[in-house]
Symmetry: C2
Subunit: 391 residues, 2 copies
């Protein structure tokens, strides 16, 4: 027999999570996970699933029947959408202006699709004209684009996009991992056919589930498939039998994660979506004002900025890792590093869900000021003096 | 705007989970999930991941480096093993004697493998001779078999199997979803090349993660792949960069689920594997003695029975659904229905992990007796009088 390792009981410290997710969790959501566990076919648990679907429809602003949480994290939601919508050989067009568009391309290539791409600079967004050109040129069956690019903090404008994509007899696939619950997401109004998100961003539940939703058009494409889904775990034709009326066992749903999703969605229902969007916008304004005092700038044009995910340029001469380490170790605040092309040059300061509160913004700004002073970096103005007017 | 639904705050009732999983959770494991959330790249969280890997190696009884929890439930572990080990066109041989062998076949077919099968009656196991015949006939690259068939309660004998499979230059893939942490699992001694399990059975954590482990042989086959993994989410060549030294971001790990895994593995380390196996065996004996009083029999030959998953024949004239409903609604005890070919004819009474305690067995037996009396079914003897001698 191999001997047991010597390991102490789990302890974790309270930290303020202002990175690109996970965000902090409301105490009610945190407690929900410890409620007594139920079986995955227990009528009491099935009622919780039903309510989660109903609340997800509200948060997505959709009437789509096929709206449910996939039993894995956000990237699994991406894979679920692609593997169900796309059959090998289908042409798929992906818009890439950051890490997550590139990930969508990778997932689509693995699915056996013929993948074409549109590219734009990191931090920018796509115009309807650019997209129309791509649709004309490649005649794709599915067009995938990221609504909230977590690597750059850019928000894709959605007006007219659904109608345009449908004009070319194509389906619209949208990544709302970072936007859902933090900024406007209107799945029906925008005519989105497939959307995925994650729980650990603006929904403020722990990571582990990926809410998805599919339009009637998408359901029809899936119903007409000629080939079996390449994945068993992500095959919605089976997953939906568990969520729907038949309650056929597919896999064991993550019970306690669904409790936390219930609690976090309930918080949103209580707050109201519009209030929540306003709160995220307001706290972004406070942060922005304070960061200006430290000469920290935004790479993304103002009108395309995500209020909940602030990608900001690290000032000349300031060392990325030194600041992030001191923020985490001394101030117990996590801010995110840059990803991909933005690594070492940008930070990503998240103000998502339960993290997005004025007291947290002020705490972050004063901690940043302390770090700048400590390392002898310039502090041209006091961030709190700049920020307080926006509270 | 679509209006918010009217939904009450989450409540759940305490139930005794004696089905095929999820099992009940130790209070420490339950509380662990509510500990403060950390970022997925926080050094404090990475230490928790390291400790989980170390404790999983103990529970699997392996020194395999590539031992980690996949961020989804047990069936995703199955898919991970197959998608990483197998390339399209590879011949795979699957042994089927219940639902989960059949599922393995389904997953393997979707992976593009050429799938051959060995079949045996439900409730029976495979002999080395039968398996050798299959290996000779099909020359597979991977042979998949279920160690603990959750649909029938049968336990596959493992002596000599690894050596036999390797003699035919084949890799051994083993399903230990229901066995890990409840009955003997010796991955290195048995020469298993790939194994997957779930957290919600004998590990007594909530569902949501799937521990897997891969031998050096398996790692070599994966390193020599000619084609990219068809799945992005389950591609171990990327997942292992996050778990290994480089800490490359792949997907956001389910933080709180990893807390619960840590706590549940820590319980096992404290109890000791051998003590845990003995406890599961002893409680099975108590249950078995009590069930005899109600004329409830086991379909599986005694030496192949899983102590933690008791598939038992519903006595002639006893109505399956009536009993299970009364058990759940009045006694707050979940027992499992039969799956597939066993539906309506068998129950599955789980004694897994934290559920496997003498007081729970007695509670279940007396509740069953009450139900039998209530519906006027024969109770030839008192189950407690039969059971108490085994305590």
């Amino acid at each position: 027999m191999i001997n047991p390792p010597k390991i102490s009981k789990l302890t974790t410290e309270e930290k303020l999570l202002m990175g690109p997710g996970p965000s902090n969790i409301h105490p009610e959501t945190s407690l929900a996970m410890s409620k007594p566990i139920l079986g995955h076919l227990d009528p009491d648990f099935l009622r919780i699933l039903d309510e989660n679907q109903e609340m997800l429809r509200y948060v997505f602003q959709t009437k789509n029947t096929l709206t449910l949480p996939i039993s894995a994290t956000g990237s699994a939601g991406m894979e679920t959408c692609i593997l169900n919508l796309v059959e090998p050989g289908d042409t798929v067009l992906i818009a890439i202006n950051g890490v997550f568009g590139a990930r969508m391309k990778d997932v689509a290539e693995r699915s056996g699709a013929k993948v074409e791409t549109l590219t734009a600079d990191w931090g920018s967004v796509f115009s309807l004209e650019e997209i129309e050109e791509g649709l004309k040129k490649f005649s794709p069956k599915v067009f995938g684009i990221v609504h909230a690019e977590t690597s750059t903090g850019a928000q894709q404008p959605m007006e007219g996009l659904g109608a345009l994509v449908h004009k070319y007899d194509c389906l619209l696939l949208l990544d709302c991992v970072t936007s859902l619950g933090g900024t406007k997401v209107l799945i029906d109004e925008w005519e989105v056919d497939a959307v995925y998100s994650g729980t650990q961003k603006c929904l403020s539940a722990p990571p582990g589930l990926s809410p998805v939703s599919f339009s009637q058009r998408a359901e029809e494409k899936m119903a007409g498939r000629k080939s079996k889904n390449r994945s068993w775990y992500f095959d919605l034709s089976m997953v939906k039998s568990y969520f729907g009326g038949e309650r056929l066992y597919h896999h064991t749903a993550p019970i306690n994660m669904n409790y936390s999703l219930h609690a976090s969605l309930h918080e949103i229902v209580e707050e109201g979506l519009e209030n929540r969007w306003k709160r995220h916008e307001k706290n972004h304004q406070i942060l922005k004002a304070g960061l200006e005092a430290l000469n920290i700038e935004f790479p993304v044009e103002e009108k395309y900025r995500l209020p909940q995910l602030n990608a900001v340029k690290i000032p000349e001469g300031v060392e990325d890792v030194k600041i992030r380490n001191r923020m985490l170790e001394l101030h117990k605040i996590e801010i995110g590093s840059g990803l991909g092309a933005f690594k070492g040059k940008y930070w990503r300061i998240g103000l998502m869900g339960h993290t997005s509160r004025a007291q947290n913004v002020i705490r972050c700004l004063s901690a940043l000021k302390e770090c700048f002073l400590h390392f002898g970096y310039p502090v041209p103005e006091d961030p709190i003096e700049k920020a307080y007017r926006h509270l």
